[in-house]
Amino acid sequence: MDQNLGEQTIKRGLEKEGMLAFLGKAFALREFTLFVIIILCSVVLSFFTPHFLTGANISTTAIGLAADGIIAVGMTVALVLGGFDLSVGSVMALSGVVAGSLYLSGVNIWLAAFVALVFGMLCGLINGYFIGHVGLNPFITTLGMMSIARGASYVLTQGSPLSLPGIARSFKFIGGGRILGFPVMVLIYVLIVIIMDFALRRSTALRQVFYVGSNEKAASLSGINVSKVKTGVFFLTGTLAAITGILTLSRFTVAAPNAGMSAEMRAIAACVIGGASLSGGEGTIIGSALGVILLALVNNALILLNVSVYWQDLITGMILISAVLLDFFTHRSSFLHK
């Protein structure tokens, strides 16, 4: 797919056309452009504030973006399918709340976390069943699930966060521990990105998502089980949302019913910045990860530069629209040149 094209052009560029032409082609790749922007932002930021390039700041920022990042991994696949999952933020909250409530009623925290994971999977399967087999619209279905999961979280907690005292250290480790100085939650996120990026490029199962996202009818006529593919994708987004919920619970040792508020919107924004298209058939996990990093970096910059937090949403929106505009103009010019 596209990413293979990118690799090829890079190889060819190095062989034949020298550095300038190579750079020109590399910039045609969304991932490369994003990477350069992120590096530039970091350099500029480190001049303005000495706090930026400190281990503490970087690791806090990284832990903070890991949650949004894992959700964005699932969202990328949903966007490639030509849909999206609005319920991920709520499912994330629900899984944390389910695990928390079970723990408070005396269940072992690991068992509680497992049950919470199953809950998240179930939410995904229900979305998938209605979208894939019944044929409902993903927007409406996941909007409904968003409300249901959020509502269930409030009902279970009576609206206030549950703090979980005396939780096992082994459980706290996955959200708050470190291995060789690296936060475990970040390592888990990086692992998920690497596995899923590879799988989206290379695995036959996820290749089918591109077919369905590009042309559902043609996919069905070519023998692809469209219902199964759709169900699978929403199962994946639900599962990743639940994993995020459990990691967040471990990090804060608090089950908050309002966790993951508008995480779905941040994830969609990050994926689109990373090159995914709402009309399906396009997108990479690395691209989305870079999108998440860019948004987190900008927020971090605003905090370090003492700009009011209220600017965050405003700037996120501006970046999102700039990315879409960039897409529009590059695609439009290639259309005219056809």
């Binding site: 293979n4 036959t204 591109f210 077919y211 043609a218 069905s220 070519s222 023998g223 692809i224 040149h337």
Partner: protein
């Protein structure tokens, strides 16, 4: 004295990055003439009409309309100056009425700001009557047949006082009767002094309705010929730059064993009591007018749509496919007639498109084996001679003929035993068409049974060893060998109607 020339085009050149789409093209359209524009895909027909209608601007050259300099900056300006363009794909709003579509963007007004629907209706009604249609201006466009939608498009152009009407492949989805009706309308317009620029792949129609023919090849005008002084063969040789001796490959005399047998297949009003068999090594034609139920039968057989009654036997064993996957497992392939909506993954690479039906063969340990993927793709790109810059090229950027070949490639990749081909050469250029025809015969010679559905009679007659004719969901006859003539097919295609009359 009044000049007979309405539109004069002089030395128009248009260059797209890397391609000279039009090279010094000059031609003239006279008042009240039907002027055909023919040429293979990529010859520059679309670019030329896009320049005439103001969608594109030429790099050099000039045009005059009624001896006045004509350089439309956009389609709207060309409309105001009297150029009407009926596109191949309709640009109507399906939820709105005929009258609202005709007056779209310029509804008559009353009381300052309110739209005067009544006036729009009356005026549209007047125009509709001129074409002897009994359509109600209040009917929603989505309820109309494609032929009637086309009439709405023509009326929309006429209501703008158009003097040159551009028709782009107007008959590609019309039935024979609807085509005749359209020709009536064209003759009528002509007698009123309206000029028509007629773009079509179907030369027989061009010869039937047009006065002069301009042939484009590789962006240049080859010649403008008067229909009276030329022949189809001459036009074709001008189009391709070589004469095509035999259009169709030689037929195969002896078909093999029966592979697929269909007995008494019925599905509601779509088709009833259809029985036939497909033998290896033969091309079986499914003929009939559009709407006769030909595609419906094929789609039901291949598991895409349902059927209510009847049996299907593959190699003597009773089977029923519930979806495309099952049909593919039994090596039954259906090449759809809707290339863009059901056939191709336009955003994805050629490679990805071709392997979609062979995911199992190219998978190793759950991963796509890139080596296998590439060798499979290369094999079919060579067999079908697909012209492409690389395996990674998006199908979107290929010509119609090459897109069609990609679709054929994906079905050849499953090694089919029976291949249903629904309008396999619709809207592609003569060269690619001939290549596909030869390929079909070659597949046949290797023992594959092919079922060809086509609305082009010459294609059915030229390609098929046996033809089944349908009308209104019923099989009205079967023709073999020498019996396959235009007359016999047409007689059967109208068979039931005759009985009623």
């Amino acid at each position: 004295m009044e000049d007979k020339v309405l539109l004069r085009i002089r030395n128009i050149t248009k260059i797209f990055p890397g391609v000279k789409a039009l090279d010094q093209v000059s031609l003239q359209v006279e008042v009240g003439e039907v002027h055909a524009l023919v040429g293979e895909n990529g010859a520059g027909k679309s670019t030329l009409v896009n320049i005439i209608s103001g969608v594109l601007r030429p790099d050099s050259g000039e045009m005059t309309l009624d001896q006045r300099k004509y350089a439309p900056a956009n389609p709207r300006e060309s409309q105001i100056l009297g150029i009407g363009f009926v596109h191949q794909e309709m640009a109507l709003c399906p939820h709105l009425s005929i009258a609202e579509n005709v007056f779209i963007g310029r509804l008559p007004r009353k009381l300052a700001a309110l739209a005067d629907f009544e006036k729009a209706r009356v005026e549209t009604g007047g125009l509709l009557k001129k074409f002897a249609t009994d359509l109600d201006p209040k009917t929603k466009v989505q309820e109309l047949t494609i032929a009637n939608q086309q009439i709405v498009e023509i009326i929309k152009a006429l209501s703008l006082d158009c003097r040159l009407l551009i028709l782009d492949e107007p008959t590609s989805s019309l039935t024979e009767a609807e085509t005749e009706n359209l020709f009536q309308i064209i003759t009528d317009l002509k007698s009123r002094g309206i000029s028509i620029l007629y773009i079509s792949h179907r030369l027989s129609e061009v010869f039937q309705i047009c006065d002069r023919i301009s042939v484009l090849r590789d962006g240049g005008l080859v010649k403008t010929l008067a229909v009276a002084d030329t022949s189809e063969d001459e036009v074709i040789s001008q189009m391709v730059g070589r004469s095509i001796e035999a259009f169709y490959p030689a037929k195969h005399p002896n078909a093999g064993e029966e592979i697929l047998r269909v007995e008494d297949l019925s599905c509601g009003k779509k088709f009833q009591h259809i029985s036939f068999s497909v033998r290896g090594g033969e091309i079986l034609g499914l003929s009939g007018l559009i709407g006769a139920g030909r595609s419906e039968v094929a789609r039901a057989l291949c598991g895409i749509d349902r059927y209510e009654k009847g049996q299907v036997y593959l190699d003597g064993k009773k089977i029923r496919f519930n979806n495309s996957y099952e049909a593919i497992q039994s090596k039954i392939a259906y090449l759809t007639e809707n290339r863009k909506t059901e056939g191709l993954f336009l955003k994805l690479a050629i490679k990805t498109n071709i392997v979609v039906t062979s995911l199992k063969t190219i998978t190793r340990r759950k991963l796509v084996d890139r080596g296998k993927e590439e060798s499979l793709t290369r094999k079919y790109i060579e067999i079908l001679r697909i012209k492409t810059a690389g395996l990674q090229q998006k199908v979107l950027n290929l010509s119609g003929g090459n897109q069609q070949k990609v679709m054929v490639a994906k079905w050849l990749a499953i090694n089919p035993v029976v291949l249903f081909m629904d309008e396999p050469t619709r809207g592609i250029d003569v060269g690619a068409k001939t290549e596909i025809h030869y390929l079909m015969r070659e597949l046949c010679n290797r023992g594959i049974g092919i079922v060809l559905i086509s609305s082009e009679l010459p294609e059915i007659i030229g390609m098929c060893d046996r033809v089944i004719v349908m009308n209104e969901g019923l099989k009205t006859g079967e023709l073999v060998g020498e019996e396959i003539t235009e007359e016999n097919i047409m007689r059967l295609a109208a068979a039931k109607k005759n009985k009623i009359a």
